[in-house]
């Protein structure tokens, strides 16, 4: 690496960066999340509902108001559900989200009065031959629940030309199940509401962390949202790191392929070193990857800012707890090392390819390794100190993802530094090997056969019979 020129590295990075950024395709994919996000926000603001509203009816021929009771119970359950969801949210969001929920719940299913007294009389409406006038509009009836009496027992049948429609049948199923349970309990002098109240008290189990300091109140050691947020942040950071490597890797591969097909490499070698070309490409694609991820980073930033501004102390405390000095130091370290480690592989493999088919064939093994390594993230979330996760945090292929996920579990500075150093040394080794493969790939043909011959001759020092 004598006379390594940062200027040349920067020029190569610039060329690669602007080579992609100037294309229409890049801007389409760049703007897509912003456009779709904007459309989504506009649609929510305008109260638009893209779900199809189903107009259905309940024909109750039992004479016992079973249908009416069913609707009343369903409505009560919706109100409870709304309350449960909004209670979990910060105060400032409760009203807005509650209104949105009301709107969606109301619009999904509209029950209209039955336009006929018998199921036969409903058939023309269900077939679309006749329409129902509802609030001044002619609408087509999408389905009908027929509740009838069978030897004194209420039963139901559902009629619809849409064989997959299940909303009203599922409401009916739940109602009839509850009705059967209530009847059974009543036979023993009990009520369903009483049964539900008794079991609800037992369903919530609080979690306590013995390592948390003991406080005056019993809830001091209870695990809260604040305690969980650092793990979620670490998971998101590891996922971001993996996504950056994955997205960057493919760009490096195609960039390298473009270089090979462009046949400009040999000309550049009269003014640039192999390693400068490689680092230039790594830098250019890294900037490109960050640019293409910028909309997502901005959206996440806005989300975090919104969460903080909403003033929920638990969330703010959780975010503060997640952004530790260890995270601030090691996230960029593992991001850079992980990217260079994998990126060097992809550059080398791209240099051996003559077509996208070649590239796909050659990269399957490393993609499998990359995919296998990301599986350590959910394992780390479940137990950051599991033997597999500890091993993965030292193994260079998985270290970038595993080490990050272990930070909230109070991984030591020594462990994190050691893992980063091992990854650094491995990255230097991988970069050296990749440079050799890169030289070989640029100056000779594609594929693994000549690479195998090179490996036998140069690494294994086998004599070739001429």
């Amino acid at each position: 690496m004598k006379h390594l020129s940062l200027r040349r590295i920067w020029l190569i990075a610039q060329r690669d960066y602007f080579g992609y950024v100037k294309t229409v395709g890049f801007w389409l994919s760049f703007l897509m999340p912003i456009v779709f996000g904007g459309i989504g926000i506009l649609a929510i603001s305008a109260g638009l509902d893209f779900q199809n509203t189903r107009y259905e009816t309940i024909l109750d021929t039992t004479g016992q108001d079973v249908g009416e009771d069913m609707v009343a119970r369903y409505t009560r359950r919706l109100v409870e559900m709304r309350q449960t969801i909004t209670d979990e949210l910060p105060d400032a969001m409760q009203a807005a989200v509650g209104d949105q929920l009301d709107s969606e719940l109301d619009n999904n299913l509209v029950l209209v009065p039955p336009p006929a007294d018998t199921i036969d009389g409903l058939q023309p409406y269900l077939k679309g031959e006749r329409t129902v006038n509802y609030e001044g509009e002619d609408i087509t009836l999408d389905g009908a629940l027929h509740i009838y009496s069978d030897n004194g027992e209420a039963r139901a049948r559902y009629w619809s030309s849409n064989v997959n429609a299940d909303l009203l049948p599922s409401i009916a199923r739940r109602y009839f199940r509850d009705r059967a349970r209530a009847n059974y309990l009543e036979s023993g002098g009990l009520t369903l509401d009483g049964y539900d109240a008794a079991t609800d008290d037992l369903s919530g189990i609080d979690t306590f962390d013995p390592t948390k300091p003991v406080t005056d109140t019993e809830s001091g050691q209870a695990v809260s949202l604040t305690d969980r947020i650092p793990y979620w942040v670490a998971t998101a950071a590891a996922a971001f790191l993996w996504f950056t490597v994955f997205a960057g890797a493919y760009m490096l591969l195609t960039s390298m392929l473009e270089e090979k097909l462009g046949k400009l490499m040999e000309m550049m070698l009269a003014s640039t070193q192999f390693v400068e070309i490689m680092f230039g490409k790594l830098l250019g694609v890294a900037l490109l990857t960050l640019t293409s991820l910028a909309p997502y980073i901005i959206l996440v930033g806005f989300g975090a800012a919104a969460a903080i501004s909403m003033g929920d102390p638990e969330v703010i405390a959780g975010i503060r707890q997640a952004i530790t000095p260890k995270m601030l130091v090691f996230f960029p370290v593992f991001l850079i090392l992980g990217y260079v480690f994998y990126g060097a592989f992809f550059i080398a493999l791209g240099s051996l390819s003559e077509s996208m088919q070649d590239a796909q064939t050659l990269t399957i093994p490393i993609l499998l390794v990359l995919t296998a390594c990301v599986l350590v993230v959910p394992a780390g979330l479940a137990d950051p100190n599991a033997p597999l996760v500890v091993f993965a945090s030292w193994f260079p292929f998985s270290a970038p993802f595993a080490a990050i996920i272990r930070i909230p579990a109070d991984a030591s500075w020594a462990m994190l530094t050691g893992s980063a150093l091992l990854l650094f040394v491995s990255t230097i080794g991988v970069t050296w090997v990749a440079t050799q493969i890169f030289k070989h790939g640029v100056l000779s043909g594609a594929g693994l056969k000549p690479l195998g011959a090179w490996f036998r001759r140069v690494v294994l020092r086998q004599k070739t019979v001429s």
């Binding site: 006379h3 190569i12 080579g19 473009e258 400009l264 490499m265 000309m267 070698l269 009269a270 140069v458």
Partner: protein
Amino acid sequence: MTDLLTFDSVSKTFGGKAAVNDISFSVGRGEIVGFLGPNGAGKTTSIRMGLGIVRPSAGRVTLFGERPGPAAFGRIGFLPEERGLYKKQTAREAVAHIARLNGVHKADAFTTADAMLERYGLGDVAAQKVKSLSKGMAQKVQLLAAIAHDPEFSILDEPFSGLDPVNQQVLEGIVRDLSRGDRTVLFSTHVMEHAERLCDRIILMANGRVAFDGKTSEALERAPHRLIVASPDPRLTDTLTPFAQTLSREGDTVHADLKRNATSQAILERLVAQGVTITRFEPRTPTLHEAFVAMVGADVLGDMAANVADDTPLEEDAA
């Protein structure tokens, strides 16, 4: 004369096969040197070693007095045999990009690119993307990219291949421009006419070795002089035989490869003295190709690729 590039007993093997075998030569400042030989003769491998892209298996190569490498960056203009440019760059961006890699500042690089493209008839396409240019135009753009930084030493690998006669002539002009002052040019070709017209000196590679290294006129002297004579007189062949290495007759016309000491003047005098009626008397100026056939044999020129390693082989131990 200062030597810019020297090869001292240099060999290069790939997988046990010799691509270049114990070659020694040098290129001095201010020369235009033709690096000639058939495909597979070892020209490209030698050029790669000269630039430090490939390391020799044995011997020593120096460029500007040092081992080839980064120290020479910016002083060399290199056009490789494989043609290529970034297809989405415009012609001026392509020229400026390589110039900047060779150390030229951004503004100067674009100014030079515009001026060069204008000068060599590509001003109208300067803002067009490379993918929309014809092959000949793209090739000229690449050559301009290779030399836009005004290198001391230009190394051009088969610069004329793939060009039509008009563009070949333009390229000859560029090579002449390149060699002004004390600038140096080494270009490889297997088309002898270009070397004959452009070179002060030629190096002939054959079978991975240097078969000839000297002035063009010296090479031409090694070629047999030819003579075409036509006469209805049956004594024509007998009269020519003492002067000829080989003779072939087609009807009244005899083609003769003359012996080294035979001259057209002496033959004409003999024919006149013997009263042989001549209807055609045509001495032929020897070509470099004929000189090379005389030096290495037609079979070597014809079968070269089968006898040596491929000229763009597996890279073994590039520097």
